[in-house]
């Protein structure tokens, strides 16, 4: 019995030392990795300069309708009557009829301002982030339509499923304090 208790106390002593070493290792290890930056860390965002509008944003996101939506930087928009983001390649007429629209869900609202200018507003709940309008605007227009991760919807997954599938490495981690990478007329915002 004496032998037994001695064995136990020796074990207890050793365990105490191991515990101390373990606690120091965990705390020290994590501290060595220098957790830094904003408390919330980083969030995912699309670099519009790298985006090739492959359409994967609409299909790869873990959310039902994707967290990626088209954002319109109105300050860059030419407000054209023949908008390459709004209209199909060869529209029958410059009207809002569905067959003329490039957007598969009719999420771009076109409104007359003054001759010959029109306003184009994204109806976000309808937008699925397919990037078709972004492609049209970027190829022939000013590039004022841009795909962005909307942070009111994004789950900020550790491994963004779209980033995994993105063919052009356009998904980057950005500081949560500056969560958007919109191009603006003056350069990046």
């Amino acid at each position: 019995m004496a032998d037994n208790s001695e064995r136990m106390s020796r074990r207890e002593f050793l365990a105490g030392k191991v515990r101390l070493a373990g606690a120091l290792a965990v705390c020290g290890g994590v501290a060595l990795l220098r957790p830094r930056g904003a408390i919330a860390g980083t969030v995912w965002q699309i670099d519009p300069n790298k985006c090739t509008q492959c359409g994967k944003c609409a299909t790869e996101c873990v959310l039902g309708p994707s967290a990626v939506k088209c954002v319109h930087v109105h300050a860059m928009c030419g407000h054209c009557e023949l908008c390459f983001g709004f209209f199909e390649a060869q529209p029958n007429a410059l009207t809002t009829a569905a067959e003329n629209q490039r957007c598969p869900t009719g999420a771009i609202k076109r409104r007359f301002i003054e001759d010959p200018y029109f306003e184009y507003v994204i109806d976000e709940p309808l937008c699925i982030g397919c990037g078709k309008c972004v492609e049209g605007c970027g190829t022939f227009g000013n590039g004022s339509l841009q795909l962005q991760v909307r942070h009111d919807r994004c789950e900020n997954c550790n491994q963004c499923a779209i980033a995994d599938a993105c063919p052009s490495d356009a998904f980057v981690r950005v500081p949560a304090t500056r969560p958007y990478l919109l191009k603006s007329a003056e350069g990046e915002q």
Binding site: A15, G16, R19, G22, V26, C27, V30, L33, R34, P35, R36, G37, A38, I39, A40, G41, V43, P48, N49, K50, K56, V62, L63, G64, V71, H74, M76, C77, G78, H79, L82, F84, F87, A89, Q90, I113, E114, Y117, E119, G138, T139, F140, N142, G143, H151, D152, E155, N156, C157, N158, Q159, D164, P167, S168, A176, P179, Y180, L182, K183, A185
Partner: protein, 436 residues
């Protein structure tokens, strides 16, 4: 459109790389039209992330109190439901310590990656608690453990050989997760998390069916993910045996009544060892010596195999895939392009740069593959050694490494019944019958 503007547009579209140029200058409006500004809804506030950490610490403390002090299964179950609701369905299972392993590895290998403080806290807190209280995180805080625990209906007894064999899987999974995170290829733990699609209520068919399979299995096998997959469980296994206040089945002394024997659905209760047969003991010593000599052989063989198989592993990295694709396209061995190779050409980076990058990655994969192979060899070797070492046990004990601190076994112990006053212990209260 193309009919009328075609040639002019073709000219305009040529410098496509120079994005954002103003082909159509924004107009001056005469009607006083005000342009709407693009909205930029902010991400979840940092203060809420701090709240997550505080809740984690509170839940861990409460779990330790309920398991070790109150010894209450009902309390543990209630806390488990809270964790399932908050960390699972409300926070959608993210941040979690299991996935945080990868962030820690990336932070250690890629100096450009800043480890978020919240992720660091989620990684460290359950380990620190395990150092003192055992695996209380698994018991009532982990939402993935909780989702399996609540559906557990008829736990089957898993034969020891199968339990030992499947118990190696988490070590291999941890090795693979570290390998892919360290090479910057993928976060496999997050990609193949079977329950996160339930927490989010959306996901691919593949992931949802994987989750459904695990849930179905969890009805008949106690917590299959925790025992046979979870890589964070490996870290907890290393730490928990040194706990200051571990789970003890009985609140008093063990009377070896065997009533607790069948109470653990996770096979974590160890029975007293019989007196060893001297003849067998001699044989066991010989086997142990052989296994100790075998260990370095296994490690070396694993390292060699890992380094040789690293070419295949490297294909998991998107840049290596792209380099391979661009190479065979340039050589004319394949017709057509992929989205990735098209995007690469569109940006006009030189192909040599891509090849060089891929070659560097292959080198990294060779080192990482060698380490991974050596790790696999080490795990197998040590398992064999541990299987041939006997540790004397006089009482029924919870295996400190395997015990998930669920508090199920407590109620099977008659001493616990006495503690709770559910039975009248006549030896302690001699006139109990008279009082009645």
């Amino acid at each position: 459109m193309r009919r009328s503007l075609g040639p002019a547009l073709a000219l305009l579209a040529l410098p496509a790389a120079a994005l954002g140029e103003e082909r159509f200058p924004p107009p001056e409006f005469s009607t006083g039209y005000q342009m709407p500004a693009p909205t930029t809804p902010p991400p979840r506030a940092g203060t809420l992330a701090v709240l997550d950490v505080v809740l984690l610490a509170v839940a861990l403390s409460l779990a330790a109190y309920l398991v070790l002090k109150r010894r209450s299964r009902n309390g543990v179950f209630a806390l488990m439901l809270f964790s399932l609701a908050y960390f699972g369905f409300y926070r959608n299972g993210c941040v979690c310590p299991i996935g945080a392993i990868q962030n820690v590895v990336v932070a250690a290998t890629d100096r450009s990656y800043a480890l978020p403080a919240v992720v660091a806290a989620f990684f460290a807190l359950p380990l620190l608690f395990a150092l003192f209280f055992g695996r209380v995180f698994c018991a009532a805080v982990c939402p993935m453990g909780a989702v399996q625990d609540v559906v557990l209906a008829r736990p089957a007894r898993i034969p020891p050989w199968l339990e030992h064999a499947l118990g190696l899987l988490p070590y291999l999974y941890l090795g693979a997760a570290v390998l892919f995170a360290a090479t910057g290829s993928a976060f496999v733990i997050c990609n193949y998390d079977p329950f996160v699609s339930f927490f989010r209520m959306s996901g691919t068919v593949k992931l949802l069916s994987l989750g459904a399979a695990f849930l179905l299995l969890s009805m008949f096998v106690g917590r299959p993910y925790c025992r046979f997959v979870c890589p964070y469980g490996v870290l907890l296994r290393w730490v928990a045996p040194w706990a200051r206040w571990p789970v003890t089945i009985t609140p008093d002394t063990c009377t070896q009544c065997r009533l607790c024997e069948e109470s653990c659905p996770f096979g974590a209760i160890r029975v007293p060892t019989p007196e060893p047969d001297p003849a067998l003991r001699h044989e066991g010593r010989g086997r142990l010596a052989v296994l100790l000599l075998l260990l370095p052989v296994l490690v070396a063989a694993g390292g060699w195999l890992g380094a040789h198989g690293s070419g295949r592993l490297a294909r998991a990295h998107a840049r290596v895939q792209l380099a391979d694709r661009v190479w065979i396209e340039e050589q004319g061995k394949v017709r057509g392009t992929t989205d990735a190779s098209e995007a690469f050409r569109k940006h006009g980076h030189p192909t040599e740069e891509l090849y060089r990058e891929a070659a560097e990655l292959r080198f990294r994969f060779r080192d990482a593959g060698r380490l991974f192979g050596a790790w696999v060899g080490l795990v197998f070797g040590l398992k064999l050694i541990l299987l041939s070492i006997r540790r004397r046990r006089d009482n029924y004990e919870a295996d400190r490494a395997a015990c998930l601190a669920c508090a199920r076994c407590y109620r099977s112990c008659p001493q616990e019944h006495a503690r709770l006053g559910l039975v009248i212990d006549e030896t302690e209260v001699p006139d109990a019958v008279d009082q009645r």
